[in-house]
Every structure is written in C-alpha cells, then in structure tokens.
C-alpha cells in the first residue's frame, strides 16, 4: 500500500468509528433512560451479574489492546517479521478467550433463568425492571460480542496477509475495547456496596 492509500484507510476507519460511537450511544441512551426510571430495579439486577467473570474479561480485553498496539508498532518499523504475527495471534487468542468466558457467563445466566422471555423467572416485586435490565444486558453484550468476533477474524487476516490494513484493524480492535470499558461499570458495578 502506498502512503496515500494507507492514510486514506486510516481516515476511513476513524469515520467508521464515529458512526459506531453514535450507534452504541443510542443503545447506551436507552440504558440511561431505564436506569433513570428504575434505579432500584437496576441496582438489584446488577447484583445478579457475574462480577468475577466480567472483571476478568475486562482485564483480558485491556491486555489484548496492548498486544494489538505492539503488533501495529512492529508494522510501523517497515520490516514486520515474526514478532508481528506473534502479537497478532496473541490478540486473536485473547479475543477468543473473552468470548469463551462470556459464553460461560451466558450459560450461568441461562441456568439462573435470567434470560428475558418466557423462561425468565425472578422472585420479588421488581421482576419486570430486572427483566428490562437483562434485556439491555444481552443486547449490549451480544452486539459487543459480534463486534469482537469480527475483530478476531480481521486480526487473523492481518496475521496471514502482509497487505492487510493492520493499522485500521488495530483502530477497530481498540474501539471494541473502548465499548467494553464503558459497559463494564454499567453492567457489573451498578450497586456492589451495602
């Protein structure tokens, strides 16, 4: 890729990220409205999320951003070698680890009947509000997981093809990490005290 094409691909990714900011902004707005309306239901529901798995997953994604940044750094030296592939494969592996942990989390929630729909079972008067929290939870984390799956595939493509736009893929990867940085406190830390 020549210098101009490289600059264009990076700018294109930044513009795509701007649209993604608005896309997730709308989802977070619906979360904010319901949390404003039902603070007690959301506090109670958040207590039923898997804090350990969520925190571990945050650490996994932050680490994957580090390995991705190191892979892009290798590419910028102009003579990417084995180290770049190693960092890229580590990034994809950490992304896959996130999805596996998330899968165990979903399984636990399924077993506790917290998945909204006909199977949703929750005792107490705040049942409807807790169900709304979990609807938002599955929508937000589900869409995030789809983004991460695409990211893993793009990273593997970069590891295979020397001509892949690794800087743009890196920006996408970091953006998916950014989304999770905001989801983490909004899902797991609504009320953990008292």
């Amino acid at each position: 890729m020549n210098e101009r094409a490289r600059g264009n691909s990076i700018l294109g990714m930044w513009i795509f990220i701007a649209t993604e900011i608005v896309f997730f902004g709308v989802l977070l707005l619906s979360y904010a409205i319901y949390r404003w309306a039902y603070p007690y239901g959301f506090a109670e529901a958040s207590g039923h999320t898997q804090l350990l798995k969520g925190t571990l997953n945050t650490a996994v994604l932050l680490t994957s951003s580090l390995t991705m940044a190191l892979a892009v750094r290798e590419a910028s030296t102009g003579r990417p070698g084995k180290a770049q592939s190693v960092w890229l494969l580590a990034t994809a592996a950490l992304g896959a680890a996130f999805l596996v942990i998330k899968g165990f989390e979903y399984r636990a929630e399924f077993a506790e009947h917290l998945v909204p729909g006909p199977g949703f079972v929750y005792p107490g008067p705040l049942r409807g509000q807790v169900e709304i929290f979990f609807k938002l939870y599955f929508t937000l984390t589900g869409i995030h997981a789809i983004h991460l799956t695409i990211g893993c595939l793009l990273v593997l493509w970069c590891a295979r093809a020397a001509r892949a736009p690794i800087e743009g893929v890196g920006l996408y990867w970091h953006f998916v990490d950014l989304v999770w940085i905001f989801l983490y406190p909004l899902i797991y830390l609504v009320k953990r005290c008292g």
Binding site: V26, G41, R127, I132, C193
Partner: protein, 113 residues
C-alpha cells in the same frame, strides 16, 4: 514499548480502582466515579493505543463529531426526563409507560386494569 507498558499498567490500575470504589458506599458519587474512571481509561486507549495524540486534525474531527452527536442525544433527552418527577421509592411492577409519561408520577400512577 515502554510507553505502551506504562499505559497498560495505568489501565489495569484504573480497573482495580473502579472495582474497589464500587464496594464503597458513596451515594450518587459511585456512578460519577465509575464514569470518570471509564472516561480516563478511554482517553488513554484513544491517545496512546490509537495514536490520536500524534494524528492530524481529521481523526480528531471524526471522534469529535461522533461524541458531539452523542452529547446532543443525551443532552436533549435528559432535558426532558430531568424536568419530570424522578422516581423516589422502589416502585413496584412495571405495568405501563415510564414514570413521568402522560404527566403521571410513580407515586400516584393508577394501576393498569
């Protein structure tokens, strides 16, 4: 390499901080602290991992445009909701529209038949 490791260490420290703070009862400040820490982490990732610090104005315009529209979205929405009576008690089962809609407050909302 060294700068990246430093940023990574800061991100992990902030993760520990947000987790620890969540277990302290700070009232409304819990949410403020959690969002402030998330914003700090986001700034670190944007500026260093995504190289926004060294990039030209175009990347800043793209990020700024996205954030501006989200700010308008949240701003106008909460100008509306903020002017309605806020929910006070742990209201019971949801049966109708959001509290405050149709001029009702949750305390005097009539049960839906």
């Amino acid at each position: 390499m060294k700068a990246y490791l430093f940023v990574f260490a800061a991100l992990m420290a902030l993760l520990g901080a947000t987790l620890g703070l969540a277990f302290l009862d700070l009232g409304a400040l819990n949410l403020v602290a959690a969002l402030a820490i998330a914003a700090a982490k986001a700034a670190l990732v944007l500026l260093f991992f995504m190289h926004l610090r060294e990039s030209d104005g175009l990347a800043w315009i793209a990020v700024g445009a996205g954030l501006t529209w989200v700010a308008i979205l949240f701003g106008l929405t909460f100008v509306d909701y903020g002017s309605r009576p806020s929910p006070r008690a742990p209201v019971t089962e949801i049966v109708g529209p959001l509290p405050g809609a149709l001029g009702e407050s949750p305390s005097d909302a009539a049960p839906v038949k």
